[in-house]
Symmetry: C2
Subunit: 365 residues, 2 copies
């Protein structure tokens, strides 16, 4: 069963292939009666222009790739990525652009990138320092990097350091001195000193400790997996090892919620015995018990902004930009509302009402 091509339509309508093409793409150029004759023939034959041929000619396929460093199954299982894709999709949808999720092919991200029939990439959690991404620049394929190196060409990031700083600052203001910091294992590529999201958040915490003249022991920084179980076991193990933290800073909500679970199991009351602050503000954060105080970042918006940037670059060769979106500390139930302590310095300047919760803009760097 051969596919029906433009030749078949041209033959049936008694015109040239050029005429058929015009009938679809620029009907004004043809007599109205001719156009309808062609369109009729096309409909009868069930003709639709071959997207590959069209793409080959026009150097444009109308599809954007979203590049993940992880297997696709973990992508869709992750609420963070779901929100991110939701943001991206809202833009591509309204522009009539397709969305291709690109993940490592049998382990090789490079092959996946080369084989992807797309006009450009939104890249999440990787950047040009990675060997797979660099060739794109060389080949002239447009891309926007999200949550990668904020210095690269076109990139979208959030103020990770500022948000983390605000979180740590709040706990230190509350008088805590034994704070357990939970972070995730560094991806193997990031062996170098504290690059990426994780590094920036840790830097934000550290700066607050320095500002308050409080030491942050290496022992107090624990790496674990970004899962409920990861946060749970990390806290439980630290406790078993004799640590007696009065507060927890986690670089991810899911880790924070896992830690709360462990703490509750150990009989600790939150926030009375233990204050906890997460990061990201995934949907589960407001649904957990107690509701998690966390650093909110605009996940879907990040996707939207990145996509618009990419499309503009594609359409107009627009200028490359570096965008940093704000984060904000969202006070919920896993921290104490503390009006007593002095608030002279530090980050906690003037909360505003939002979603019925008090909110603090993260300090700009």
């Amino acid at each position: 069963m051969r596919r029906v091509t433009i030749y078949d339509v041209a033959g049936k309508a008694g015109v040239s292939t050029a005429a058929v093409s015009h009938a679809f793409n620029d009907p004004e150029r043809l007599r109205a009666t001719t156009v309808s004759r062609i369109l009729d023939a096309a409909r009868e034959l069930g003709y639709a222009p071959n997207p590959h041929a069209r793409a080959l000619h026009s150097q444009r396929v109308g599809v954007l790739g979203v590049l993940f460093p992880q297997p696709i199954a973990t992508v869709f299982a992750n609420p963070f990525f779901a929100s991110f894709l939701e943001g991206i999709g809202s833009v591509t949808d309204e522009r009539g652009i397709g969305l291709l999720t690109v993940t490592p092919h049998g382990g090789s991200l490079e092959r996946a990138i080369a084989a992807a029939p797309v006009d450009g990439f939104v890249i999440i959690g990787l950047d040009e320092r990675h060997a797979e991404v660099a060739p794109l620049r060389k080949r002239g394929v447009p891309f926007v990097v999200v949550d990668g190196d904020p210095e690269t060409a076109s990139s979208v990031n959030v103020d990770d350091e500022g948000g983390a700083n605000a979180a740590a600052d709040l706990l230190l203001e509350h008088g805590h001195r034994e704070i357990l910091v939970l972070t995730f294992h560094a991806p193997p590529e990031e062996l170098d000193k504290d690059l990426g999201v994780r590094g920036r958040r840790l830097r934000g915490y550290r700066r607050a400790f320095v500002d308050h003249g409080v030491a942050l022991d290496d022992d107090a920084v624990v790496r674990t997996f970004v899962t409920l179980a990861g946060g749970d076991t990390a806290f439980a193990k630290a406790w078993a090892d004799g640590a007696r933290p009065t507060a927890v800073l986690a670089v991810s909500d899911i880790i924070a919620i896992g830690a709360m679970r462990a703490a509750k199991r150990l009989g600790l009351r939150i926030p009375e015995d233990l204050e906890v602050i997460g990061f990201d503000d995934i949907p589960l954060a407001s649904a957990s018990d107690p509701a998690l105080t966390t650093v909110h970042q605009p996940i879907a918006e990040k996707g939207r902004v990145a996509t618009r940037l990419l499309i503009r670059e594609l359409d107009e060769g627009g200028p490359r930009e570096r965008i940093v979106l704000p984060t904000e500390l969202l006070l919920r139930e896993s921290t104490r509302t503390q009006n007593s302590k002095s608030r002279g310095q530090g980050v906690a300047k003037g909360g505003t009402e939002r979603e019925g919760k008090r909110t603090l803009k993260a300090a700009a760097r």
Copy 2:
């Protein structure tokens, strides 16, 4: 900045384009030294075969489309679709196949389908009775229909009717006579009598009512939106209108959870005053309070099966199949564990242990 093509590589290596192609696709055919000379040239130039040209020639692009009838933003926000995509992605990933989400382009699903550079489609929640889907068959594009007409060519479904029947049967066995049935608004295309998932589930409920000789009033079947708020308001409104149900059957977990919220607000205890059974077993179902008794369906597995089916059809022109996966009633906390009543007839035959919960295979039709 012109893209580097196979000609550039051929020129640099001093061979024909055919040789370059062979070096990549069938190196055995060439002398080893020639191959490495070509590969070196390619690497230096940063060459990668143009996916569009390759697809045009080979009639194969290595991308599968997943067709949704809804805007992409709602897709990713929906936990059901997330699990479904996770299943699909696990298969495409291991085969090195790309995944393109296809949603209406500016309202037109037809245009989106025509423009999608894919080898085939997994279609969810639509089938050949829809005008947009029918042309695919005519054009010879392979597709597999999920949650559509179980009679079509290649399709994957679950035993909606059996699962629903088991759920209704349980409640009727428990002696309930005032049961509120919550369903969702029919998509406009399904004006005809009870097609699709919704229709099959309702049919399952109805059959149980008939078997028990209990009447199901039209008033007792309420349509609402598939959201927490939808379930909440639907129950609240029924209550306000004077209905005093002692049990709820919902065709969707999210509706069921919404109804529970409303019921708790009205002071009802679950399951003592009100038993509730949902459908789907989304992750939230086991996390709700109380944990929701529901009809489990293998969402991710449905995606995996459909994808394997499609790939087989693509690779081997394999036979078209109609697959129906089982559902099972998962007893959790929103129904009573009732050993007292007689269980002579009906569905509840022998529970097995699973996830520490009692489980009942849905009655086969």
